[in-house]
Symmetry: C2
Subunit: 328 residues, 2 copies
Amino acid sequence: MADYRQAGVDLAGHDALIAHIAERAAEAAQPGLLRGVGLFAGAFQLGDGPDDPVLCATTDSVGTKVLLAAQLGGHEVIGQDVVIHCANDVVTLGAEPIFFLDYLAVHTLDNEWVEGILAGIAKACRQAGCALLGGETAQMPDLYQPGSYDLAGTMVGTVRRQKLVEPCGVVGDVVVALPSSGLHTNGFSLVRRILRDRGVDLSRHRDTLLVPSALYSPDVLRLLRDGVSVHGMAHITGGGIGGNLNRVLSPVCDARIDPTAWERPSVFGWLQELGAVSEDEMRRVFNLGVGFCLIVPPTEVAAVTARRPDARVIGALVPGSGKVVFAC
Amino acid sequence: MADYRQAGVDLAGHDALIAHIAERAAEAAQPGLLRGVGLFAGAFQLGDGPDDPVLCATTDSVGTKVLLAAQLGGHEVIGQDVVIHCANDVVTLGAEPIFFLDYLAVHTLDNEWVEGILAGIAKACRQAGCALLGGETAQMPDLYQPGSYDLAGTMVGTVRRQKLVEPCGVVGDVVVALPSSGLHTNGFSLVRRILRDRGVDLSRHRDTLLVPSALYSPDVLRLLRDGVSVHGMAHITGGGIGGNLNRVLSPVCDARIDPTAWERPSVFGWLQELGAVSEDEMRRVFNLGVGFCLIVPPTEVAAVTARRPDARVIGALVPGSGKVVFAC
């Protein structure tokens, strides 16, 4: 039975590290700091008036999806993914993405795939409405294997102070899910291990494995501009629904999620069966078809589904202690 | 004779890539974009009034200095370096660093050195006066070798629109150099190759090789606040004085640099002799003791040296075509 720790990824160690980074970050706090390490994006205010801008920023990478892209050719997807991932992070605070910077680390420059990555970055920046402000391309032949590379990026967004979305969900609110396009960028160390262990011919599954992540920021920003009341948002990445939605729950609420309330894309069933992955591990590693969650009062569901007919109510906030629980 | 291309780093290919990235970035331009790819930092304005903030942002990495740090132990230095490098970049536009995000990619989490890196990041954020807003730690056992890691970061700074430093040097201006602390973070692929080829015992030279970069932003910001007129600034990184100072020259000026005008730290002579590196290659790869350049009218030199007695006039702007020329 495959799991993520065997695939070399230590999620518990990672959580402990985040707590430690938060301590270190506290040593370097500054007056404008509103939200530091631990949420989907940090927030820094440039003034203290209600209309003054708050900057929201996040850094993220594409993970080992880059290794599959290197094998199968899919560099434009990787470029899109890094921008989309970061845009989905900053919009959880209500912020509009304004500019992006990329970090590309390579063994040696190879024009064909660098071109693909850049084309993907530029394409997704246009979709997210942000400028490509700069970046760094580092050639490090002794750190990276020939033909391999790593890609990360940073998105900065802005929101007026009074429009910053603060998590404020209460019992009775519902959880509305926006569908993912598939794996997005998470769980690929496990995916690759399963496929390798089972000797799967990767090239036959390229279109299933290398799908660009879904971009949520344009629709979410439209909902906010339309005045829809949103009590919190979660971008579902590594850690799954349980490990991301919990970041915007109050300590007196649980989110009770009905795992039958949405259709799970077939890629997840296929991987689960191939790797004999437990249901708990699936939930802990993958988005399972839910890429983004909004916590809203029940009265706002119609406004969300009017804009996004593919949105689904998948759960509700109940009295609890800040956990996500799965129950039909 | 060692050179940088043999060490696996293609500076000419990198320059061509930057031009290509600039084209791609133009496809994703947005109204607020003031400066895109190609300078030390990008600039994005949040409003168009003279007092409205301009955001200046840069992403950079520490390069293969991380490999020496992994061998010799010096992770705190690496953490400091990534912050300092980025702070020195954004201050070239007159911007004050406000927050930093790091990207740390690892084989597996190792608390001892992650702790060192974080301590260095937090220390340098305090020195630069910026918040540590967030970051990403990615575990990718199939992309990185055991015990190795990569570290990059993004700094965002702000400056009022009317205080943004626009390159505007004219013939007769002088170039004032602030000393580097040694190698900073550039040229380490060549350094490591020379040391390996010569069988040098690295541990005997740890204190020479793993010195934190010099941080210039606090002193430069004080000069600007004091009203010193600055016509352009260059952070001297990969590419040396010639490949960085040229980025802030007008197309009708050359910077004529006197290579005898400052004392070259002994590490450069040692490496040059060990590796039989040509003088041209030394100038193209290393900072040679000059970490930061200010272009100022001659009347402002006294104000700079009053704040920084270690500053040296190393050249002047002469009629030309935007090049840096070395001549006694």
